[in-house]
Amino acid sequence: MRNVIVLLITMMALTMQGHNTKIKMSGTQTDTKKGQQVTIVNFEKLESILKKNDNKLYVVNFWATWCKPCVMELPEFMEVNKAYEHNPNFKMILVSLDLAKEAESDVKPFLIKHKIEADVYLLDDNKRMNQWIPAVDSHWSGAIPATVLYKNGKKLDFKESKLSKNELEQLIQKHL
């Protein structure tokens, strides 16, 4: 009798473990699909990704792994992204300003560690900052974090500061 109980408990434990593993695995797959990719782009390529005539609201955040206020606001950006990502008219994009040579060594491990689940591009266009910064917004001094909202190729809002979750949600609600 005791053996039967032990066997039953073991079976139950194994089944539960299997179930958990399954969930974890699917979670990891999602991470791989979304968060762990860093696509290195120049400004023209980036613009072609952000300025599409597809009726989507693009919430674009310029950040870097070394930028403390950027890193501080990212968890709330991710919360907001989770809340809106199923909306077909919403897309959050993170633009890393880390060095391209640090994409594998610094940026990817950061994305995994901080569970970043948004599309991540690394803008590798250092020498033309003085051209593309004013192209994003004429008032941008170049300080990060900075967040810009586009829809149908049109810039709707620009914020050169750290945003709270509330401020970000208000911006999205205003333009979605």
Partner: protein, 225 residues
């Protein structure tokens, strides 16, 4: 929360001696008020200088504990004022080039004056002691001043580190001639195509028009509470 009313209450309390209950409430709220008041202070919308404006002088503490003002430099023709700091990777990437600028232009009448605009409460690495250490390590040959209370940088309109303001003395006034980045490649000083600051100072030294008077570049936001 209506802050205006709260401030009004504070003033009323001072003048009319309101009840102890209100006073206690204010005491409880005071820490929050202090933080928010500071935030409001830094959010005052200083537009900062444009090229052609007259820059203010200042009296700020150098890493050697002496106070430094622009007016101390009787023989200078102008200044390369650099808002920079200890912690920011962009600022660090430019340290050698800032040293190089002072080496090249101080003898020609345009010394570098570096100012750390950051509040150490917001970024501990940018403490005055940290500045002293950094200046020693790097062998800074120019003043590295602490913007105590974060009073100077908003007047200039510095937004990030590093952020340069080239000033020229004109009839005793320090006129802003260039605002922006040091050059066009922070990550590789051997692959620079436009030395913005050098070009600006060279133009001033040879009485020519500065071709590019303002530029923007990615940098660390200034850390103030």
């Amino acid at each position: 929360m209506n802050w205006n009313n709260l401030f009004k209450n504070i003033y009323k309390t001072n003048s009319m001696k309101k009840t102890g209950l209100i006073f206690c409430t204010i005491l409880l709220m005071s820490s929050i008020v202090t933080v928010n008041a500071k935030k409001m202070e830094t959010k005052v919308d200083y537009k900062g200088y444009k090229v052609g404006d007259t820059a203010t002088d200042f009296k700020l503490k150098n890493v050697d504990n002496k106070l430094v003002s622009l007016s101390d430099y009787k023989d200078a023709k102008g200044f390369i004022v650099v808002f920079t700091c200890n912690h920011c990777p962009y600022a660090k990437a430019y340290e050698n080039r800032i040293i190089g600028l002072n080496h090249k232009y101080a003898p020609k009448g345009y010394p570098v004056i570096a100012i750390n605009p950051n509040d150490p409460k917001a970024e501990p690495q940018d403490s005055f002691e940290g500045m002293q250490q950094r200046a020693k390590e790097k062998g800074f040959t120019f003043p590295y001043l602490f913007d105590a209370g974060q009073k100077v940088y908003p007047q200039y309109g510095a937004k990030r580190t590093p952020h340069v303001f080239v000033l020229q003395k004109v009839n005793g006034k320090n006129v802003v001639k260039y605002i922006g980045a040091i050059d066009d490649n922070y990550s590789d000083e051997n692959d620079v195509s436009n030395k913005y600051v050098e070009n600006a100072v060279d133009a001033l030294l040879s009485n020519k028009t500065i071709a590019v008077t303002s530029t923007v570049a990615i940098g660390c936001s200034i850390k103030a509470l």
